[in-house]
Symmetry: C2
Subunit: 294 residues, 2 copies
């Protein structure tokens, strides 16, 4: 299974990597701004969100072409959030995935605008998708805006900023993560359910699945920070602890975090089984992402 | 005419001022972020874009309720652009309409997120409008994204940044203004045409009208900067010149700029007359905005 899963993920990552630049290249955008948008959009990344969308479409027997524009849009929203997150006024990071961050190359002003431009383009791409009907597209716009906005990811960013130098309870930490990273992991799965014309029961099952997956993904991240291999990870081990960040490991110990991780993965898989859909691929990806080593 | 026009504009401004907070208040947004978004959204402003949308709907005999959500969305996009524009990395302004700018009160990080949140909420509001059908809404999303994004307003911001310390030709200056301010003045007029189910000919006439209006509005702004009354204006006269900004006045002299303004207003009114719609209200507003004294 691992090798066919690896091949699936490698193939889908290669496909989205090849498609992303096409959604920018024909747009009439000032040269420096376009370079800045393109730089971060093509700077790598695991393309987890597009892969989740394609795998969830597979559960409905739907052609993944139908999810391409939405996947591109989600990846643009994810990329914009990283650009703004790295700004001096936010996390002030010089490096992202081993490369200089957007503002260190293009300057802060252009980096802010590149983020604004990618966020806006995401909605344009969903709206102008020729493969979906208007009703589906308008639901996708609502879903994306709700996941990405002040009730979702942007709100989670704000809460994360405010949580610095405070010690959160487990419930508070989960609430922050559900918004900050969770909503944009749920969104591609729910988008596929919309595109695949899920029944209400199927939609709820997939939504609950992706909620647990989002949390598992974040717990996995926190575990990797203390137990990961620095070389594979591309960043120093233990940086969360050194920065006094609230993590599942700091609240639960590493063994407690591992138990919590397993609990969420098991519940995620349980939700998939309840959906009545062909979800073995989605289940493998969920396990792979949760127990990843880098 | 002036007094009934004034009454119309005052009424519509009061209506949109009363409606804007309602679109925020029920959203589940972290408290400080919500305050920051609300602060800038309710900080005043002439509400020109919503008024243009309502007046253009009037030309189709359409109920202005049908344009409310779109008008709110456009005002949110306009507000987000001002918040990001005022940031230290951009124009670094401490005051906007005589009040402290968003980041001076809430800090840069929250100001960036408030802008991101307002932009995202704008799309959510258009998508969830219960008065319009999905086809119209998806066209409005496309129109808003195209006007606001890297091909429109955000691209104009970038070009404006790059034009600092350069002397532009008239054509270059017009190209920057068409994007930076023009697109978001066109957008409400074109949105009304979509909502009012304009014929292609009507849409083109209104689109051309609003293109000239957008330029006239900017030329009027440049003239006010040198010939306006500091007290009415709320900012020092001549600040563009002092900052070596490219303006219509610096390129054309004040008399040349006034001739160019009249030319665009006349052409704007000409386009309205070609539309075959009931556009006397829209014409009065265009003249009022172009020849305004503050």
């Amino acid at each position: 299974m691992i090798s066919s899963l690896n091949r699936y993920m490698t193939e889908k990552k290669a496909w989205i990597d090849s498609q992303l630049p096409l959604f920018l290249q024909n747009a009439s955008i000032p040269e420096k701004l376009k370079k800045s948008m393109s730089y971060s959009l093509t700077a790598g990344g695991k393309r987890i969100r597009p892969i989740l969308l394609f795998a969830a479409l597979d559960a409905f027997g739907e052609d993944e072409e139908k999810g391409l524009a939405t996947a591109v849009a989600i990846e643009m929203v994810h990329t914009y959030s990283l650009i703004h997150d790295d700004l001096p006024a936010m996390d002030n990071d010089d490096l992202r995935r081993g490369k200089p961050t957007n503002h260190t190359i293009f300057g802060e002003a252009t980096a802010i605008l590149a983020g604004d431009g990618l966020l806006t383009l995401a909605f344009q791409i969903v709206a102008s998708d020729s493969l979906l009907d208007a009703r589906t597209k308008i639901k996708l716009v609502e879903l994306l805006a709700s996941a990405a906005g002040a009730e979702g990811m942007v709100g989670g960013q704000e809460e994360d900023l405010e949580a610095e130098d405070k010690i959160l309870t487990l419930d508070q930490l989960m609430a922050v993560h559900r918004k900050k990273t969770g909503r944009l992991i749920k969104m591609p799965v729910e988008a596929a359910a919309l595109i695949g014309q899920a029944t209400d029961r199927q939609f709820e099952a997939l939504s609950a699945f992706s909620d647990h997956l989002g949390l598992a993904f974040q717990i996995g991240d926190d575990i990797l920070d203390v137990a990961g291999n620095q070389k594979e990870l591309g960043k120093p081990v233990g940086s969360d602890l050194a920065n006094h960040k609230n993590t599942y490991v700091s609240l639960l110990t590493i063994d407690g975090a591992r138990r919590e991780l397993t609990r969420h993965v098991d519940r995620a898989i349980g939700c998939l089984n309840e959906s009545g859909l062909k979800t073995s691929l989605l289940a493998s990806i969920a396990e792979y992402l949760s127990y990843r080593t880098h």
